[in-house]
Amino acid sequence: MYLSFYITDTRNKLVFQYLLGATAPSFKHLWTRVQSTCPHLLEDSSSDDYLDHAVVGRDLEVYKYFSITNKLNYWCLASTSKSKGPLDCFTLLETMDCILLEYFDKDKLSIKKLVNNYDRISLIFNCCIEAGEPNVSDMLYVNKIKEAVPERSDLSKFISSTAHNLQQAVQIPQQRQQQLQQNQISRGSTSLVENEEVVPWRTSKASKHENNELYVDLLETFHVVFETKKSRLRLVNGNIHGTVDVRSYLNNNPLVSVKLNTMGNDIGVPTLHECVEIKDDGEFLPSNITFIPPDGKFRLLEYSVDLDSQVKQSGIRINSIGLMSLHFQNGLGKDSDEFELSLNIENFKKVSQIDDLKLDLQFNVENADAIELSYKIKILRNTHGRFENSAAMGKGQWIFDKATATGTVPVLRGCIEYESVKPNGSKNIDLQTVSLEYSYTGRSASGIYVDAIDILSGLTIGKNTKLYKGAKYRTQTGDFQVRL
């Protein structure tokens, strides 16, 4: 059973709290408790003793979830119970994070947004948590929450409500008396049941939209590690994590079909939104995804392409992914203290530029060496961007401009200058690994694309309403490392 929820910023300053009873501690109290019983909870995930849950009292546990997109910490205080699964608390906190994002229809929540909407967020929590547990009566669907907690009314609504008030005030009481009687009569006849919704994730009162719009965003984050083998790259392990987000603003209750072309990739067992239709035999085909969409933004599909098994099966060597391939060499020059790095950015019609390209260079400087050896990395030739030495030992960064054109071959050549005389027998400092970080729009890393978006039925398009559809592709690196 959950007792309270808290949202804090990265420095653990309280942003929002939702307490479920008079006995639930405020964040200040919890904070002192946590500091005295389990200070490791407050550390961030890169530290050694990082904890994400801990027992803070008899039968009380604190759980913490860090939302990467929002840069917020979510906390909850729950009572220990045997029937609770190991993932329940973390998953709930993650779900809440998602719900808030979808409710406000944002890509990222700012603290200001939360502060300005305290009342609304409190109500959202109230909807989602019932009897101290996640509300299982379908209240975890954003559409349902939107129905219970309407979004902020704007100026036009305010004006109309004022006018309405005015009208009411001027009305003659007797007239009202009559209405009252009429109402009483009519109330007797109305049934207690309303038209309940067709599907739980979509409200029957889905707001009316001026236009019918349906957009599909396909985002792929890839994690790959390569190693250089005879000046070629060989995949050590790799994985593409794809998400298909849909923003749907459609009237009525339409049946939509999205056709994905997987380009021969095996997307394994994907995660589907509840709205997706699955055949009775449990089979699912990405080439025909049929669903009645919830209103607004939601995650339709989440898949993962296993590059390792693909390499094994097809025998095709993957030596570049995400339009990039990288080579580097050590021991060049006459003192063999130079290194060269060359990046090959493929040309692709639909991708005009690479955004925020950054390379992290890691040299094999051991920590213990630091005292004996001082060195400097000097750049001899640099075709693009700038090079920055890092404060940490043996690290450097090659930072590109905001946009880099595709179809170019940036090269970086540098040498290592030893400030003191190189002690005999100690090894040369070499470039050991290079990590890349970038993103681009226009294509997915795996090549998966949306073949078609069809509205099969249920949508009536009037004269003045139009239907807009579209798909967007984006690729970003999660991990891209090349080892020597």
Binding site: S137, A169, V199, G394
Partner: protein, 803 residues
């Protein structure tokens, strides 16, 4: 006359209201943050005024402010002083304000039970509202008030609403059951169970979801209640809420273990063999290479129903499914489903740190039981550069679990890379070193291969003390297992000890200790090692000095024993007396080893460390006493070979969380099931409320195949699952309810609430009572309440002017 004055007054009032609203808008400039700014500037005194205003907008502003104060943990204003002013606004028509008041009550009701009673009447009235949402809200708000005096009223309400035509309200009833149950009144438990039983027979998935949740929370031990629903739930499971799915799976696992016979494993490895045995209690202990599992049809139904959940976006569901397969099926069945793949996918894609750690622990847990489950996915557990320490450590542990002949090369290479990466965190490197020792366990050749690599690496790199410690530990472990086969490595270590003066103290100490142990097998090299160590004794670190002392003592003890053994057979037992007399005692003065021992002892006696001085004294007194048997007992005691778990870097990183262990705790099968029990799972009568539903156009529906289609057809289907003739159920159910309500309705009189109100202080109750009376005669409609507030304005006008 009075009427016209009234009208003028109300018109004036409205004008005032409008200007005030306009002012509010002007200050707020309509933007969200400007509104927040406006809201923040409402001072405590203004809050009183706003809460008592007749303008719903002002009340709303005030409530928003109060909720903001609660949400921001602001100590400067005590919101509890507004209790009465807040609660009386529950009569408002503004649902948002109602909900905000609910939030307020949820938090503070316990602190002021008397004033809370003010709200009950209005809430109870909403229970019979025509809007199902309002009914739902009222029930939830009423049941959330944690007051024991209210329990009978809530119970009565619950009984009344259990037959509500709206599924939403019936679902809420199930949740109210939990709240009532938790209130801890034992006398209600029976009654609540009855209601819950009723709800479990509902046809609406939403109600089933809630009922399952209530069942799991309150009556999880009454598994027999699931008899009539088992088959139906298996079929509708994918229509339920994802949280309920995982609850239901956990319940059904327990149900199956309790009421279904254990599956039988049939040998299929050789034709015609009819061997079979019950599914072993421990995982992966089926002895047949090829087998079939024969399940009870109901168990099959359950396991099959899980297949539809494989696409769930809730990781808890995936985990529960894995648990079901782990508890109820054989490893082969587990592999045939794609849940392992789904589990691995969830592990790799989740960005939720906590979940990731738990899932990795799960993988580790399962791979201990059955290595083969995760063998196809080893590469998924290779480290990624951005993995946090916790994740990296668990990944390496999983890799070390999965090592076998065919993949050892690959994993060894990868682990080697981690060990060699200076930029990785220390704990990860140490874990990787530990992983290497697992590679060494495969065969003797791998053993020496790993050790050679470690020693080379140790020589050529500057490593931190804790990493070195791990190196030496691993080498020690591997050498000790099979010392005779690794003599070359031992020589190498001796060289290392002599050549590498810069080696850290703990590492040297470890190696010195190792020689003390090897002395029993390969005595010859040891004295030389000691000889080389003595000149530099003062320069060694404290741990090494201590170990050198121990080594010298051990060598001396071995030497004495060797001497005795050499003497004994020579003398034989021919002349025992002569032996006793002529028994040449071990010559301490001429023995080189004894001399070395003395030198070390001398040095140690004047050591800085008191520990070493102490030991020196202990050792010397042992030898001085002349009881060499005791010496050899003490110093030559065989050491148990260290296991991998013996050196644990950090308990948190290497031991499964108790949650995981609890979750996967194997439940015993019930062995006393009679055949007749089969009939208990015949479906029971269902409560179908579809007839209340208005018909709606069917064109917009997805086909029945959809993951969660809630069409009337699907409802009909689920009703039809019970192959018995249950056609009359709806009706029979209804008649049931009627008697149900009337039976119990007598006990609780709603009107008795007025007595509660007599407790409330006079001042407030008076004005409030006016409103309440008005409200009672009025309805939800807007114009209706406007009237009440109009009349109310008469009385409040005076108070207004007095301000």
């Amino acid at each position: 006359m009075v009427d016209s004055i009234n009208r003028i007054a109300s018109a004036l009032d409205t004008a005032k209201v409008i200007t005030r609203e306009a002012a509010a808008v002007a200050t707020s400039k309509l933007g969200e943050s400007s509104y927040a700014y406006y809201s923040q500037n409402i001072n405590p005194q203004q809050l009183f005024t706003l809460l008592n205003s007749r303008n719903s907008r002002e009340i709303r502003d005030a409530m928003k402010r109060i909720i903001s104060i609660m949400a921001s943990d602001d100590d400067s204003i005590d919101v509890q002083v507004y209790f009465a002013d807040v609660v009386k606004n529950i009569t408002t028509n503004d649902t948002k304000v109602k909900r905000l008041i609910h939030l307020y009550l949820l938090r503070f009701a316990e602190n002021d039970p008397n004033l809370t009673l003010l709200s009950i009447n209005s809430l109870q009235k909403s229970l019979s509202d025509s809007s199902s949402e309002l009914r739902c809200f009222a029930l939830s708000a009423l049941s959330d008030l944690k007051m024991s005096s209210l329990a009978p009223i809530v119970l009565h309400t619950v009984k009344k609403l259990v037959t509500d035509p709206s599924a939403m309200v019936r679902g809420e009833v199930a949740l109210a059951i939990i709240k009532l149950y938790r209130a801890g009144k034992h006398e209600y438990h029976e009654e609540l169970l009855e209601i819950l039983n009723f709800l479990m027979a509902d046809t609406d998935p939403k109600v089933i979801s809630c009922a399952i949740f209530a069942f799991k929370e309150c009556y999880a031990d009454h598994l027999e209640l699931l008899h009539g629903h088992f088959r139906r739930y298996c079929k509708v499971i994918r229509q339920l809420d994802s949280w309920s799915q995982s609850y239901l799976i956990e319940l059904l696992i327990r149900y199956c273990k309790q009421f279904l016979p254990k599956p039988t494993v049939v040998d299929k490895s050789s034709e015609g063999s009819l061997r079979s045995c019950p599914l072993p209690d421990r995982y992966n202990e089926i002895e047949y290479p090829l087998y079939d599992v024969v399940n009870h049809p109901d168990l099959d139904l359950f396991l099959k129903s899980l297949n539809h959940l494989i696409y769930s976006s809730n990781p808890a569901v995936i985990l529960s499914c894995c648990n079901a397969l782990y508890q109820l099926a054989s490893p082969m069945q587990m592999k045939n489903t794609r849940f392992i793949e789904a589990l691995v996918r969830t592990v790799t894609t989740t960005t939720n740190q906590g979940n990731k750690e738990m899932l990795l622990q799960t993988v580790h847990f399962l791979s201990i039981l059955d290595q083969t489950l995760f063998l196809p996915f080893i590469k998924k557990f290779f480290l990624l550069p951005t993995d946090p320490i916790v994740v990296s450590v668990w990944k390496i542990q999983i890799l070390s679990m999965l090592i076998n002949e065919s993949n050892v090369k690959e994993i060894f290479k990868e682990l080697k890379y981690y060990v060699g990466s200076a930029h990785l965190p220390e704990k990860v490197v140490i874990m990787a070193v530990k992983g290497l020792s697992q590679c060494g366990r495969l065969s003797t050749s791998w053993e020496s291969h790993v050790m050679k690599w470690l020693i080379n690496h140790m020589e050529s790199h500057n490593l931190s003390a804790s990493v070195l410690d791990a190196y030496v530990n691993v080498i020690r472990m591997l050498v000790q297992k099979n010392p005779t086969k690794h003599l070359r490595i031992i020589f190498k270590l001796a060289d290392l000890l002599a050549a590498q003066r810069s080696l850290a103290d703990n590492a040297r100490a470890g190696i010195v200790w190792l020689f003390g142990e090897i002395a029993s097998i390969e005595f010859k090299i040891c004295p030389d090692v000691l000889r080389k160590l003595i000149p530099n004794f003062p320069e060694e670190g404290p741990e090494t000095r201590c170990q050198i002392l121990v080594l010298s003592a051990k060598l001396l003890s071995y030497d004495i024993d060797n001497f005795k053994q050499a003497q004994n057979p020579a003398n034989g037992d021919s002349n025992a007396e002569e032996y006793n007399q002529n028994h040449t005692y071990y010559d301490f003065s001429s023995s080189r080893i004894s001399q070395m021992y003395n030198a070390v002892l001398y040095l140690a006696k004047y050591d800085d460390e008191f520990d070493i001085r102490d030991r020196a004294r202990m050792v010397s007194s042992l030898f001085d006493s002349g009881k060499y048997e005791i010496v050899s007992l003490l110093l030559q005691a065989p050491k148990p070979t260290t296991r991998n778990d013996d050196f644990i870097i950090s308990a948190r990183l290497e031991i499964h969380a108790p949650e995981i262990r609890n979750f996967f705790k194997v439940l015993p099968w019930n062995t006393e099931i009679s055949e007749a029990d089969n009939d208990v799972r015949v479906g029971v009568a269902l409560k179908d409320y579809n007839k209340y539903k208005k018909s709606f156009s069917s064109q917009s529906f997805i086909s029945v195949n959809s993951a969660r289609s809630f069409t009337s057809t699907s409802n009909a289907n689920s009703a039809g699952i019970n192959d018995d003739s249950n056609d009359g159920n709806g009706i029979s159910g209804k008649s049931n309810i009627n008697t149900f309500a009337s039976q119990n309705g007598k006990k609780y009189r709603l009107q008795s609430l007025d007595e509660f109100f007599s407790d409330i202080p006079e001042r407030k109750s008076k004005s409030k009572r006016i409103i309440r009376v008005e409200e009672e005669s009025s309805d939800e409609d807007e114009d209706e309440s406007e009237e009440s507030s109009d009349e109310y304005s008469d009385s409040s006008l005076e108070t207004f002017s007095s301000h």
